[in-house]
């Protein structure tokens, strides 16, 4: 893969005692979607704000499209766009006023700016809402105008901070289509998300961050592989036997088995597929009736749990700083 669109080394930023970003190293190649996955408060927004030149890092370095975000902030700003997590347009203004405002600020003449605004509203299916205040838009429309506002001048790189949080499935799909369209046209997209399936669906590479640190990085396949071979899912005839089944499976597989939401189901992560047959034999020997079993690829959910599970154990240590 060609040159790097983003490169950071040891990026740090604290707010008082909160280490929002605690040493982030990223290498994002140009083109494609890079996903930054993390729970609330992981430091996703702070990282993006540093990369978009809104915050100065306390330590470390970051280059975006080859320009240093501190020394060469203006060069970065002319080439990237930011779609923030929260209302990134003026909610008091109408859709067309927002786009015209940005077009004027970016150097369009008034008539050209008007045309540009109309084209963008058309492309994003917002032509009917052009003259309505953004505060009256639905969640999906609002997200589309947020993204449209970032494309008034097409950027080489776009930051999307949790672009689909709080959207219904249809609106979420529309945003995904937009992201895919952007990539098809050669734009590099860095998006943050709390949704594992979103990262799985969209991102070529994913950095999992927690407590301001990258705890895993790779393609979604690599991340899954790093966690183990997958999971064994088992359904029982009767819920009373589940506790017993948990003990048997744990002993046979050498890993804890976890009860699922379904009262007759449980699952266990497995490292060695050869043990599965033995575990199932062990269940029937103990008189537990299995109605169904399946061997699954680990989901990104499981990857995430596995990874942040580790981090959670380290929490007291981090808080002590």
């Amino acid at each position: 893969m060609g040159k790097l669109a983003i490169e950071t080394r040891g990026l740090k930023k604290s707010f008082g005692k909160t280490h929002a970003v605690a040493g982030v190293d990223l290498a994002v190649s140009a083109g494609g979607v890079y996903g930054v996955l993390g729970p609330n408060g992981a430091g996703k927004t702070t990282t993006i704000r540093i990369l978009a030149t809104l915050l100065r890092p306390d330590a470390g370095e970051a280059q975006v499209l080859g320009y240093d975000v501190v020394r060469d902030a203006r060069s970065v700003r002319t080439r990237v766009s930011l779609t923030g997590q929260f209302a990134s347009v003026d909610e008091d203004l109408t859709g067309v006023e927002n786009l015209l405002l940005l077009a004027r600020l970016l150097g369009y003449s008034r008539p050209r700016g008007r045309r540009r605004a109309a084209d963008l509203l058309d492309a994003f299916g917002l032509a009917n809402a052009a003259d309505r205040q953004v505060k009256k838009y639905s969640g999906g429309m609002r997200r589309r105008i947020d993204i449209a506002a970032s494309l008034v001048v097409p950027p080489e790189l776009i930051f999307l901070d949790e672009p689909t949080t709080g959207l219904d499935p249809r609106s979420r799909n529309q945003v995904w289509e937009i992201v895919r369209g952007l990539v098809a046209e050669g734009t590099t997209v860095l998006l943050t998300t709390q949704y594992l399936d979103e990262a799985d669906q969209l991102a070529d590479r994913i950095a999992v961050i927690d407590h301001g640190k990258v705890i895993a990085e790779g393609s979604s396949g690599q991340l899954k592989a790093s966690v183990g071979a997958g999971s064994l899912h088992v359904r029982l005839r009767s819920p009373e036997q589940r506790a017993e089944a948990e003990r048997v499976l744990a002993a046979a597989l050498d890993v804890p088995a976890e009860p699922s939401a379904d009262p007759v189901a449980l699952s266990a992560r497995i490292s060695d597929p050869e043990r599965v047959a033995r575990a199932l034999a062990e269940l029937s020997r103990s008189g537990i009736d299995v109605t169904e079993f399946a061997l699954g690829q680990p989901s990104l959910d499981e990857v995430f749990l596995a990874l942040t599970g580790h981090a959670a154990e380290e929490t007291p240590q981090e808080d002590a700083t």
Binding site: F15, R49, A52, T53, L54, L55, R56, R74, R77, T78, V80, S81, L82, G84, Q85, F86, A87, S88, V89, D90, E91, D92, L93, E97, L101, L102, R104, L105, L106, G107, Y108, R112, D119, L120, D122, A123, G125, L126, A127, N128, A129, Q133, K136, Y137, S138, G140, M141, R144, A149, L151, V153, P154, Q174, E177, I178, G181, L182, A184, E185, T187
Partner: protein, 280 residues
């Protein structure tokens, strides 16, 4: 037409449409004057969409003019008519200076919103969102001034300087108010909430406007207070506005006002910008 019907009526984003908007050109960046004026245009649009925000520029001036004229007029100058000739230019100053406070409160609310992140990530002259907001406020000062003067004329205020004197004094007032606003922009970046901005502004504002010659001639005040009144820029501003409206041109005093205007921007402008740049 509600949100959902509009949304369903419009086709979802198509690849072709997206491709064509992404082929858009990259115009060259405009200069600081144009970007500031554009942000000023944003402020005017906000007044258009949220006219409630004009309450302070209409109610304050009306209240003050009526209250002080009829409350103090008889006692201080023998008759309300006579006092009005003295007071109205002063009330005009006070109304404007009061209205500038709102700048900080509005900005504090505005900056908390995500849209300021977008503005700050644009390749434009960095102070332009702030300068634009202050330019938009000039509109508010003009409205406030127009209201005070109209009300004054109705009540019997007769400026000897005529229309020219009135226009000149308002122009000077707008310049001073624009410059004073930088104090509030600075405060709005230091303090966390709009409420605390309002509180601190009041604390600055009351002594600044009352310990001056807006309401009474300072001759009856104790010596130390006269000294304070004398260095208060509001005193000089009121003297100038009074002079211009009644037909004299106090050149030295005008110099004082312009100098203090420049000083206000020179001190609070850069501090504001440093705070703005390092804003989290």
């Amino acid at each position: 037409m509600n949100a959902t019907s509009a949304e369903q009526a419009s086709a979802p984003v198509t690849e072709d449409a997206l491709r064509s908007v992404l082929a858009g050109e990259r115009p060259s960046s405009p200069g600081p004057v144009l970007t500031s004026l554009t942000f000023g245009w944003r402020a005017l649009l906000k007044i258009k969409h949220v006219p409630e925000q004009l309450v302070d520029v209409t109610m304050f001036p009306i209240m003050f003019t009526l209250m002080f004229t009829y409350l103090f007029g008889g006692a201080l100058a023998g008759s309300t008519q006579e006092y009005l000739q003295f007071l109205l230019p002063g009330i005009l100053v006070q109304a404007n200076v009061m209205i500038t406070m709102n700048t900080g409160i509005t900005l504090n609310t505005d900056i908390q919103k995500g849209v300021f992140d977008r503005f700050r990530s644009l390749p434009v002259w960095r102070p332009s969102p702030l300068v634009g907001a202050l330019l938009g406020d000039v509109m508010r000062y003009s409205i406030g001034s127009a209201i005070v003067i109209t009300l004054g004329l109705v009540l019997g205020f007769r400026p000897e300087g005529g229309a020219v004197g009135v226009v000149l004094s308002v122009a000077l007032l707008l310049v001073f108010s624009f410059c004073l606003s930088w104090l509030w922009t600075m405060l709005s970046l230091i303090l966390r909430t709009p409420n605390s901005v309002a509180g601190v502004s009041m604390m600055v504002m009351f002594p600044l406007t009352f310990v001056s010659n807006i309401f009474v001639d300072p001759k009856t005040m104790p010596g130390w207070m006269q000294a304070v009144v004398e260095v208060n820029p509001i005193t000089h501003l009121a003297t100038v506005v009074r002079g211009l409206m009644h037909g004299s041109v106090p050149a030295g005093e005008i110099g004082w006002v312009l100098a203090s205007s420049v000083l206000l921007v020179a001190v609070f402008g850069p501090i504001t910008m440093v705070l703005y740049r390092n804003k989290k």
